[in-house]
């Protein structure tokens, strides 16, 4: 049974259709990416999932039930706009947010210490929030959504504004949580992030669902018809019958194969003429799939 089900969900603000009849399911224990450029309706969709706003049409079910506030204790939510009480000490803040999720102070404190250790910010635990760097504050916010050990973790743009090192730490943590059996949903406008992390995705553009499904399955739908070659010597193999289109940049080339060609004939021809240091059949990236789907008018 899916842990999140959206059925033809629609949300209209004054004049703008923010979410237009979107449907998708999220299976338990998976990492799900909600993907789309800025302003495409990701945040609107997420807000409806946790009951901050109500859909104008369609239905949303969490844990197999229609929305009820009681179920929010099983959800950890990180909003896109981060907010912490500036004057509060980190540990007091975490205990307060933990208590709001129904924990007692002692448990909240214990778990907060554990998480701070895990994310390497133990030194800041007694400091006031305003004394910390932005990345640090983001980690604290991240911890605050996990203290009550939610089954479903929903994060809106969790990695935005983080340096690569910290982004990787949080990504790894999310993978760990997924491996523990929790369901993770996060949104991002950066397609490269989602590719490595997600088991399934939904791609939104201007409020419309463009693409949805398992990562493998989506990739399989698009042909592996491109080849990258790095070579020295004769470039005449670029006119091999398998090649539909080729771009030659001094020593390496990007080639589009004819439909149905697996590139092996081209490889054989290339080896005969030049010294090959790299030959790679490339999967299409999500970004390419996305651009193909929406016709290139992406303003992200």
């Amino acid at each position: 049974m899916p842990i999140v089900e959206l059925q033809k969900v629609r949300k209209v603000y004054d004049t703008k259709v923010a979410v237009n009849d979107i449907s998708f399911n999220i299976e338990p224990g998976t990492m799900f990416g909600l993907l789309g450029p800025n302003g495409s309706g990701k945040t609107s969709t997420i807000r409806m999932m946790i009951g901050m706003t109500v859909p104008d049409a369609g239905s949303i079910r969490l844990f197999g039930q229609p929305f009820t506030r009681k179920n929010l204790h099983r959800v950890g939510f990180l909003p896109e706009e981060r907010g912490l009480y500036k004057k509060m000490k980190v540990i007091d803040q975490l205990i307060f947010l933990g208590q709001l999720h129904g924990l007692d102070a002692a448990t909240a404190s214990k778990r907060a210490h554990g998480w701070c250790e895990r994310l390497g910010i133990t030194a800041s635990i007694g400091k006031k929030t305003e004394e910390l760097s932005k990345g640090m504050q983001q980690k604290i916010q991240f911890i605050s959504t996990l203290l009550h050990e939610p089954e479903l973790i929903i994060m809106d743009e969790p990695f935005s504004g983080l340096d690569p090192v910290n982004a990787t730490i949080l990504q790894d943590t999310l993978v760990d949580l997924r491996n523990e059996g929790r369901t993770v949903l996060f949104s991002t406008h950066r397609m490269d992030q989602i590719e490595k992390l997600c088991d399934a995705i939904s791609l939104i553009h201007n409020g419309n669902l463009v693409l949805s499904g398992g990562m493998r399955e989506i990739k399989a739908r698009y042909p592996n018809n491109r080849v990258k070659i790095a070579f020295e010597g004769d470039a005449s193999f670029l006119s091999h019958p398998s090649v539909e289109e080729a771009k030659n940049y001094q020593g390496h080339a990007e080639i589009k194969l004819r439909d149905g060609d697996n590139g092996q004939g081209l490889l054989a021809a290339a080896v005969g003429n030049a010294r090959i240091s790299r030959f790679e059949v490339i999967e299409p990236t999500l970004e390419e799939i996305f651009i193909e789907k929406v016709g290139g008018n992406v303003d992200a």
Binding site: M52, T53, R69, L72, P79, E81, G83, Y85, L100
Partner: protein, 412 residues
């Protein structure tokens, strides 16, 4: 309810722990106490050492004046009698004024004709010492009247009984009421509420705006309802104000309870409240504060910055000020239809129902109804404010127009 409590506790502790709170809480009573001590010290200095001389050919008049002045209750005066004066007396007295061993002298010049009054000239050391001059004047009046009456042939005991000050007692059916005291208590309640609402009601509004800019609200919305959040903030920030005012009032009560100060106040500013009245004072004050604080919360929900809030803050105290004007009419006729209706309007109840209670106990159902109406209004305002807030925060940016606010109320 547990979450309202958590929010309230956090707001309360965060504010109470600041240095600003500590300073203002301590500083105001210190200034208050310091002022009183200063007053006491300066007044005892000027009062106890008053020393004047009475110069007269008529020794009888001079000693009567001495007796009258020295028996004065308000101030302590030592009087020297010089009778009859010698030729150097005036010079001596002026010298004594100059070296400050004398505060003033009264020179009585005998009448030039029989039956005429003597003339009196008072020379003070400092013309600013109005209190002493007034004491001398009134003593002089009393003594002269006394003398004239005796002169007309009245016996000493008749004169004494005739000049006994008149005592008027005010009583009211059912209770020994002092309506001036009721009015003063209501005026104090009004001032207290006005002050506390202006100061701390605005804090409630500010804390809600602050929550908007810090965006913590969005984090909290995933766990709590907007109305829980509103109620928590209102209670937390409001309690800070009540704590501070409570500390100040307790200090003030302690100070006025000390014998020095109460004797200094001479009983004039004394407001006596019975146990029941005190309970109602506290109940109506707290409910009134919460009511106006919820209005402040609604104002905070509608605005995005302190500047916008400033333009609206008059709406906060206007109803209260209007009630205070109505208080005059209620005072003159506490049981008229007008008074009953006005005192049941939630925004006026705190002042007017309290005034009626202290004048003449209204029927219990009216008191119950006014409290119930106030509680219902507080709830309704919080409900509306939280709707406005929830939608406002999710569609931030521009200032809402009235039709938009009304439309927001329909969103759930």
């Amino acid at each position: 309810m547990h979450k309202v409590w958590l929010i309230a506790k956090r707001e309360y502790l965060e504010r109470v722990r600041t240095k600003a709170f500590l300073f203002s809480t301590i500083l105001i009573p210190v200034l208050m106490g310091g002022g009183i001590i200063f007053e006491v010290v300066t007044s005892t200095q000027s009062n106890s050492t008053s020393h004047i001389a009475v110069v007269s050919q008529d020794q009888r008049l001079a000693t009567d004046l001495q007796a009258e002045l020295e028996s004065s209750k308000d101030t302590q005066v030592f009087v020297d009698v010089i009778s009859p004066p010698a030729s150097g007396t005036r010079q001596e007295l002026n010298d004594e004024l100059a070296d400050k061993s004398l505060d003033g002298y009264l020179w009585v010049t005998p009448p030039s004709q029989a039956n005429a009054l003597p003339t009196f000239a008072y020379t003070p050391r400092s013309t600013h010492d109005k209190a002493l001059k007034a004491t001398v004047d009134s003593a002089l009046q009393t003594v002269l009247l006394h003398q004239r009456l005796t002169h007309e042939g009245m016996g000493a005991s008749d004169v004494a009984s005739l000049m006994q000050p008149l005592q008027v007692d005010t009583t009211q059916a059912g209770k020994a009421a002092d309506s001036t005291s009721s009015y003063v208590a209501t005026a104090i309640l009004f001032l207290l509420m006005y002050f506390v609402i202006m100061l701390y009601g605005m804090n409630v509004a500010r804390s809600i705006i602050e929550e908007k800019t810090s965006r913590v609200f969005e984090v909290l919305l995933a766990t709590i309802r907007p109305e829980e959040m509103m109620a928590g903030k209102m209670l937390g920030v409001g309690s800070v104000g009540l704590t501070q005012v409570g500390i100040w009032l307790a200090t003030a009560l302690l100070l006025t309870a000390t014998p020095v100060v109460s004797s200094m106040m001479g009983g004039a500013a004394h407001v006596s409240l019975s146990g029941t009245e005190l309970v109602f004072f506290v109940v109506y004050f707290i409910l009134g504060f919460l009511l106006y604080a919820s209005v402040a919360a609604a104002l905070g929900a509608m605005t995005n910055s302190e500047q916008e809030l400033q333009q609206l803050n008059m709406f906060l105290v206007m109803p209260l000020a209007a009630c205070f004007f109505a208080a005059g009419l209620v005072f003159s006729n506490p049981n008229s239809t007008f008074s009953v209706v006005m005192s049941l309007i939630p925004f006026c109840s705190p002042l007017l129902m309290y005034l009626r209670i202290s004048l003449q106990m209204p029927p219990v159902w009216q008191i119950g109804l006014s409290i119930a109406l106030m509680l219902a209004t507080i709830y309704a305002i919080i409900w509306v404010a939280s709707r406005i807030y929830r939608v406002g925060i999710l569609m931030y940016g521009k200032k809402p127009t009235l039709p938009e606010v009304l439309r927001w109320l329909r969103y759930s």
